[in-house]
Subunit: 267 residues, 2 copies
């Protein structure tokens, strides 16, 4: 790993830990704060898919590449290093939403260490995907992950029922993966209990990433045709009871959820 | 207003419209894309509280300051200008969440104009407030506005009931204003039907803004003491059934919602 450096007892610890949300993928969608804190860190920790777009920032730093599914190990390593070093642990999107912030702070608390810690927010996948298709989340909305690795499927279904029943737009994270191919279909079935088949639905893959951005705008009633396009790099936005397709000329551009100005204004 | 310039018939229109989320307040929490697009615009439109932190970027541009509550007018003006100019309409947080994206795209569609349009996402208030208090939104969550200007109060109450009933963390936008002083108390009453009085609750004012950041960490059972601290510059995060207070040494630092790693790992 190299670069390790023990402080003399008289030297005040300069260790600190930053948990950095790096946004959807392209560097231009990172915040200046995220860039600055990564640039000022001795160690940068993250998994490959997050570190690759950061390559130009990483010269001269010790980079620790970790694998998906090793979050607890990664958190422990970050905290151990942050006792004496400046450490940035990077997380896709916003670090606080299905990212590293929760597990790092849990492990930090359990360790008893008192280290300066900063969570740096970023553009989360819900907002990145929404921006690509117009304004589907203009008002109230809910964010639900379909991954049952850490939450039992029955609990996920209960949450889906609740949020679909009140007709607010719902963003699905982790909609499908090898381990859970059927959860997406289950979610669609719950949506169909409360929402019209005309409800617009977007499948957004690799939103605002350098490569592979794909958008499908369809409806709840037609989505069955496109389930093969849903994978772990996809965010799915299911419109609410007031959402509708957004058109420009003859082109379908995305989804708008009106906020209700039309009740008060003529335009 | 000045700076107006009509293209000759042979010149292709250079007009374009960007709806730019500028994040919670401090410039360092804006994305590079947002900064770049504002810098490249002839016209920048927004209300004072969003334009003031951008002052250094606005030299040489025509700035149109608008008032809160004039969103439809502002959208019409932006579209009119964007037929021949480069226009940025700025919105606090993420433009797609209680921001300008929805109404601008609605008015644009209704106008029939075909203008290149880009929605640029930013760090929304939910993620900004969450980052200041640890990791309260680590998993599923819902975002509900308590403003009944555009949504009837009964509808808001129905949504609150649904999301609190499944124990996910809830972010309240627009929790209180002069026009609706009681909506916050109503929301707390709904939360109390489903969640324990020990449920952690955070009142975050001016999160990541240059001035006036204040944080109160309390519980659902104790929040009554702090309702005076809640105003329109505040975001309130009510933890879910699994959320707990986050401590470092003897200090209360914020709120953690564990994602469930503790079911699978020892740390």
């Amino acid at each position: 790993m190299g670069g390790s450096r023990l402080p003399s007892p008289a030297e005040p610890s300069k260790g600190r830990l930053a948990i950095v949300g790096i946004g959807p993928g392209r560097r231009e969608h990172m915040t200046a704060r995220a860039l600055k804190v990564i640039a000022g860190s001795d160690y940068v920790i993250g998994n490959d898919s997050y570190l690759d777009p950061l390559k130009p920032l990483l010269t001269g730093k010790t980079v620790i590449r970790s694998s998906m599914g090793k979050e607890v190990e990664r958190a422990k390593k970050a905290i151990e290093l942050a006792r004496i070093h400046t450490v940035a642990i990077v997380s896709g999107g916003d670090a606080g939403v299905y990212g590293m912030a929760g597990i790092v702070l849990e492990v930090l608390e359990h360790s008893g260490a008192e280290i300066p810690v900063e969570v740096i927010p970023g553009v989360t996948a819900a907002n990145a995907a929404a921006s690509v298709i117009g304004s589907p989340l203009s008002g109230d909305f809910a964010v639900i992950s379909l991954s049952d690795l850490l939450t039992p499927l029955e609990e996920i279904e209960r949450r889906l029922d609740a949020v679909f029943s009140v007709g607010i737009p719902v963003v699905l994270y982790n909609p499908k993966s090898r381990g859970r191919p059927h959860n997406f279909t289950i979610a669609i079935t719950h949506a169909g209990k409360y929402l019209s088949p005309d409800t617009p639905l977007a499948i957004v893959k690799n939103a605002l990433r350098d490569e592979g951005e794909e958008v499908i705008i369809t409806t709840l009633g037609e989505v069955e045709k496109y389930t093969d396009a849903v994978d772990m790099h996809t965010t799915v936005i299911i419109g609410g009871s007031e959402s509708r397709i957004w058109r420009m000329g003859e082109h379908v551009k995305g989804i708008i959820t009106p906020r209700g100005y039309h009740h008060k204004y003529v335009y």
